[in-house]
Amino acid sequence: MLSINNLHARVEDKPILKGVTLEVPAGEVHAIMGPNGAGKSTLSYVLSGRGGYEVTEGTASLNGEDLLSLEPNERAAKGVFLSFQYPLEIPGVPALTFIRTAVNAQRRARGEDEIAAPAFLKLAKEKAASLKIDFEMLKRGLNVGFSGGEKKRMEIFQMAMLSPKFLILDETDSGLDIDALKIVSEGVNALRSPDRGMLVITHYQRLLDYIKPDRVHVLAAGRIVASGGPELALQLEAEGYDKYVGAAA
């Protein structure tokens, strides 16, 4: 599924990622934990193709296909979905319009037929209900005036509609109260499947109580410095990142 090999990236002249190597097989959920400034968000942006980051060395591929040479929308069409830490507000574009535009753009890019309006609406109603999203909200400007929890639910809703192959969740727990966290986690868990991989990026262990990872990696100073099972997250919660920050420096 997702293979990252010796990935180096910098912002302007500042190296952020200094040789990340990681393999997430299909069907698995891997968590990336690490202190602030370790490069967690940079990793998610480099994988999704945001401007401003320069890859200086290494590779990243999904199912053997190179990602780094593709435009962000081409990566999306290949199945990469990044759930934003702070989803954007898009005034004037109703959520349904935005998502239908995205679904059809991805379908076109893959050489598939566009989805018909009735089929799209039926699917949207089903998925909205399962995420406890009021359907009326989908007719308003995307994320405009939504609470932090509503925005994250809207991210999960978009995932459910786009059905990506690989999910990257960037600090999905930030800004969520416990009820919102449960709903969002249930939404993510519903998307777990044998042919889909996930990378869950988080600072805190709390999210991993709800989205149980198969593997946990510690990212510090631009490198993976430790990997283990779910117990590693609990250990980090108890001990903090101090020893990794020291080891990486």
Partner: protein
């Protein structure tokens, strides 16, 4: 100094130039060295206009001449068609909305030729308690020079709503003067310009509040790409004694290219006390974070930019009261941005 007088006399020194303060961003003298010959009477058939099907009747001008008036009702199409290449033409039309009456005027300026010079002058009187909605769709040839000037006189308690939609021309000015009597009269004065290539569009408005308790709400939004140039000049004058005037002007524009230009001059001239007047003017680029967000969801870059631009100007479209005209305006915006369904 006006295009109309230059067309009458054939004297190009009559054209407004950059030395005229109100025309310094829309210089006609510097562009038009020789006025083209006067347009001939047009004998051919004119295809249906953009508002066909929405209006009860149609008033048609071709090459500056009144050709026909068909039908009547509360929704009328008013068409000015330029049909002959490299000619000039001037037209004027007077319109009275009787007290208490209501009219939706669907006005189109249709360039069906190349490189013409055209001037249209409208005199509009809206009677006491009457209501006029004027939707102006300007579809000019890229090499055209076009000036449209409307003088609107409102009676007490009248309502005037206007939306101008334009894609520009080689040089183009849509100018609207509103004499606002106050006395519960209401004015909505909006515009959208979407310009690419070397197109130029100037929306100039002058609203004079003469009486107490009048309302003006103005919102113009635009986008310029390539080497296009958008001009917005909005002047609101509140005369002595025009108390309780509520006047708000907004002009907001996107510049999508380094070589494109926006010139904006909002002016509030207030000579009365106890008024609420405000203006806002912003010019910027698209939010690159929003563009990336859309692209990350699979929407290609050009489509993402067009979608965000469409949403940006959509606020102006939403203010159009007439359902058919609003849908047509939305479709026009989509078409200009290459987002036809």
């Amino acid at each position: 100094m006006s295009l109309a007088s230059a067309l009458k006399t054939g004297d190009v020194t009559e054209l407004p130039s950059r030395r005229d303060e109100d025309w310094r961003w829309t210089d006609l003298r510097g562009l038009v060295r020789v006025l083209p010959e006067s347009a001939p009477k047009f004998d051919g058939q004119v295809a249906a206009g953009p508002f066909a099907g929405l209006a009860d009747g149609e008033i048609l001008f071709v090459n500056g001449r009144h050709v026909s008036t068909n039908g009547q009702g509360e929704v009328m199409a008013l068409r000015f068609v330029a049909a002959t290449d490299k000619t000039s033409q001037g037209a004027s039309y007077a319109l009275v909305v009787e007290p208490g009456a209501s009219l939706t005027l669907l006005e189109s300026h249709e360039g069906r030729a190349a490189g013409y010079v055209t001037d249209v002058a409208l005199d509009i009187a809206v009677g006491e308690g009457a209501s006029l909605t004027r939707i102006v769709l300007v579809d000019d040839d890229a090499e055209a020079v076009d000036v449209v000037t409307a003088r609107v006189e409102l009676g007490a308690g009248a309502t005037f709503n206007q939306t101008v939609l334009t894609s520009g021309a080689r040089r183009q000015r849509i100018e609207t003067h509103v004499a606002h009597p106050g006395a519960h009269a209401q004015v909505r004065l909006d515009g959208i310009y979407l310009l690419n290539a070397q197109r130029h569009a100037d929306q100039t408005t002058v609203v004079t509040h003469d009486g107490v308790d009048g309302v003006t709400s103005q919102l113009t939004k635009g986008m310029v790409a390539d080497q296009a140039r958008g001009v917005f000049q909005g002047r609101i004058i509140v005369q002595p004694g025009a108390d309780q005037t509520d006047a708000r002007m907004g002009h907001h524009a996107l510049i999508l290219s380094d070589k494109a230009e926006i010139d904006a001059k909002p002016e509030l001239l207030i000579f009365a006390d106890d008024v609420a007047c405000a203006h806002g003017n912003t010019i910027g680029a698209l939010d690159e974070e929003a563009v990336f967000y859309a692209r990350q969801r699979g929407i290609p870059e050009l489509e993402a930019r067009a979608m965000l631009t469409e949403a940006f100007v959509g606020e102006v479209v939403e203010r159009i009261e007439h359902d058919g005209a609003r849908e047509l305006a939305a479709a026009w915006v989509a078409k200009q941005l290459g987002r036809e369904e």
